[in-house]
């Protein structure tokens, strides 16, 4: 494999990310600026603060300055890694995000992996047995999941498994403020299962339908047809010429789904009171914790960008047709 090419690729991606982050933070800052919320007033709230602190806050938010100066000022702070202080948690935003994101990452990673494997398997099965009851089942399941709000599925699962069966806590068991460090591994795992399960069964739909239609598409291509003409058939034909050709696109798609994954996490964490980044985002939004909300927007942008870059990387460096081609420019 060509390492020089990969480094060049990563460098290019990093540059793109910087530009993207500047654009995203500018836009979100402006959105918050034009909102009725006053970040300094909200931060102070009922407290009495020293004049010195007030000056610091005014300086951080660039109060009384024109908008473009505010934006530049804010970007400068970001560049120094200063994302401000969270209003709710009273600690630096970077710390809150670090802790919350790692909890969410476990949740997202588990469901991402599970839904990917299961969805791919179901999609191949449905495409292989086209028109059979398995195919119809997978299709109906996927269409229904597509049309169902994630949070409602979460509510239903919460009712069945927590309220009726009592297998899992009904949420709200951990008050806001108790950090993930204070919980034991078993406790944490106990709380992870239901949210991860919810996200997995909803994530399956997209990848299953995609895999199915891709397999159907591949089965109509010349090489699949020729393999059939040569006497290959059944599962071994699917394995040799089907899966080989749809695995890459499917993995790529799964990496491209980071945005929906993050969105689903926000809703699921809210229902199950899972102390992750999604719950933090909602709380931050509802209580006008502007620094935290903006910080979460940035981390979600980086997260989605990483997924897209992984997809690109796979496309460019795994597929032999593109890997070996001379004119491999980004």
């Amino acid at each position: 494999m060509n390492y020089k090419k990969i480094f060049k690729f990563l460098g290019f991606k990093f540059g793109t990310l910087i530009i993207l982050l500047i654009a995203v933070s500018t836009i979100s800052f402006i959105l918050v600026e034009i909102s009725p919320i006053d970040p300094v007033r909200t931060y102070i709230g009922e407290m009495s603060v020293s004049q010195e602190k007030l000056t610091n806050l005014n300086e951080y938010w660039g109060v009384d300055q024109p908008l473009h100066v505010k934006v530049v000022n804010w970007l400068g702070n970001l560049a120094n890694g200063n994302l401000g202080t969270s209003l709710i948690y009273r600690t630096p935003v970077t710390e809150v995000i670090g802790e919350r994101f790692s909890a969410s990452f476990m949740l997202m990673f588990t469901s991402w992996l599970l839904s990917g494997i299961l969805g791919f398997f179901l999609g191949v099965l449905a495409g292989f047995k086209r028109g059979s009851w398995i195919d119809k089942g997978v299709k109906i399941y996927s269409y229904i999941i597509y049309s169902t709000p994630v949070f409602w599925i979460a509510l239903i699962l919460l009712m069945i498994f927590s309220v009726q069966l009592g297998w899992f806590p009904t949420g709200l068991a951990v008050p806001i403020g108790k950090t993930a460090g204070n919980v034991t591994f078993v406790e944490w795992l106990h709380r992870l299962i239901l949210p991860a399960f919810t996200l997995s069964i909803t994530g399956i739909a997209q990848i299953a339908l995609f895999t199915r239609s891709k397999l159907v598409e591949v089965s109509s291509l010349d090489y699949f047809f020729f393999a059939k003409a040569r006497g290959e058939k059944g599962w071994s034909l699917i394995k040799r010429h089907g899966i080989r050709n749809i695995l890459l696109p499917a993995v790529t798609l799964q990496f491209l789904s980071f945005s929906e994954l993050f969105g689903g996490t926000i809703l699921v964490e809210q229902v199950f009171s899972y102390p992750g980044i999604g719950q933090a985002a909602v709380t931050a939004g509802l209580q006008s914790d502007i620094p935290l909300l903006l910080g979460i927007v940035l981390i979600s942008t980086i997260f989605v960008f990483c997924g897209n870059s992984m997809a690109d990387l796979i496309y460019k460096f795994v597929d032999p047709r593109i890997r070996e081609s001379e004119a491999n420019e980004f």
Binding site: L221, D222, Y223, F224, F225, F226, A227, K228, A229, R230, G231, E232, K233, S236, L237, R240, H241, R244, N245, D319, P320, R321, E324
Partner: protein
């Protein structure tokens, strides 16, 4: 049909065994057009054909006229929305779907038209050898493959290349190797010479000749009358889904007065070396019209009868057949 089966039972050495006997084959499709209106498309009608051992039979028709479907019908790989009627007998046995599946890739093999018939993500070796589980058998096939590669001027290291690394000519020769790996008795070459230069054309036709000399039956499906004349023993002329004439290739010579059908004669006269006489009109695409001869609108020799009945294909001499009301003997 019974006539040929009797032939194969005879022990007369001079008469080559009939390998394939196709009678009365018709193929049709149904599909949806704009606004979801269902239409039925008849593509091949009332097709008769015999292929003997060591014989090359060319099926000559314009591109896109559906003649490739005959190949798919023999191999049993027509798409799901098609309907096949008629009878095929292979080596004395009725060639039904079960037998087709058993024989395809084995005793009956296909040389496909497109070089896209190679799986883009599988190395050449794996594709030529085919789907073989048994380790020892695979090793034998590998040796066989190397031998065949030599015959087709392919180096051994081609085995480890991906199809995109092959030149067009190499890919074509790989396809030929693929068809020969299981030592078939009947080979269907589906348009194997599209857009080839003079030298490659000669080479390709030569390969077919060698196959026939080894005693294999070859069906050459082509739109190139020169290629057909050069290499085949018998030519079936395909017009608008009907075979209108089956004649011996040696009759495609001189001023063509041994050719029977007006269309065949016109076609022959249109060849550069025969004066390049162009003829008017195009083939009707819709072959539903059955109340007149399909060539009626273009025919210069038509009589009153041709306008209200479509003639049957009748045998006028041993193996020579004609579908015409006017010309009924040599």
């Amino acid at each position: 049909m019974s006539k040929n089966r009797n032939n194969s039972d005879d022990d007369i050495i001079e008469v080559p065994k009939t390998l394939l006997n196709v009678s009365n084959i018709s193929i049709s499709f149904f599909q949806y057009t704009q606004g979801l209106r269902k239409t039925v498309l008849n593509v091949v009608e009332d097709l008769d054909l015999d292929v003997h051992e060591g014989e090359i039979v060319a099926i000559l028709g314009s591109s896109g006229s559906g003649k490739s479907l005959l190949a798919h019908a023999i191999l049993g790989i027509l798409p799901g929305n098609s309907l096949l009627k008629g009878e095929m007998i292979y080596d004395g046995k009725i060639l039904d779907q079960k037998l087709k599946e058993e024989l395809r890739g084995d005793e009956i093999s296909l040389i496909p038209q497109s070089v896209d018939s190679l799986d883009p993500l599988m190395k050449v070796g794996g594709q030529v050898i085919g789907d073989i589980e048994d380790e020892k058998e695979r090793e034998e096939k590998r040796k066989e493959m190397i031998k065949i590669f030599k015959n087709y001027d392919l180096r051994e290291d081609v085995i480890d290349l991906y199809p995109f690394q092959l030149s067009g000519g190499m890919a074509r020769r790989v396809l030929f190797s693929t068809s020969m790996i299981n030592d078939p008795k009947l080979i269907i070459a589906d348009e194997p010479t599209p857009g080839l230069d003079e030298k490659s054309l000669e080479e390709t036709l030569n390969y077919l000749k060698i196959m026939a000399n080894e005693g294999k039956g070859v069906i050459l499906i082509t739109h190139d009358i020169q290629a057909a004349v050069k290499v085949s023993d018998k030519i079936a002329i395909f017009y608008s889904g009907y075979v209108i004439e089956i004649n011996e290739t040696k009759n495609f010579s001189g001023n063509g007065d041994k050719l029977l059908h007006p269309y065949t004669r016109a076609l022959y006269k249109a060849l550069p070396q025969n004066g390049f006489q162009l003829f008017e009109g195009t083939q009707p695409m819709n072959i539903d019209i059955q109340d007149k001869c399909i060539y009626y609108d273009r025919c210069s020799q038509s009589v009153e009868k041709c306008g209200h009945s479509n003639p049957d294909l009748v045998e006028v001499d041993d193996g020579i057949k004609i579908r015409c009301h006017v010309v009924r003997k040599i």
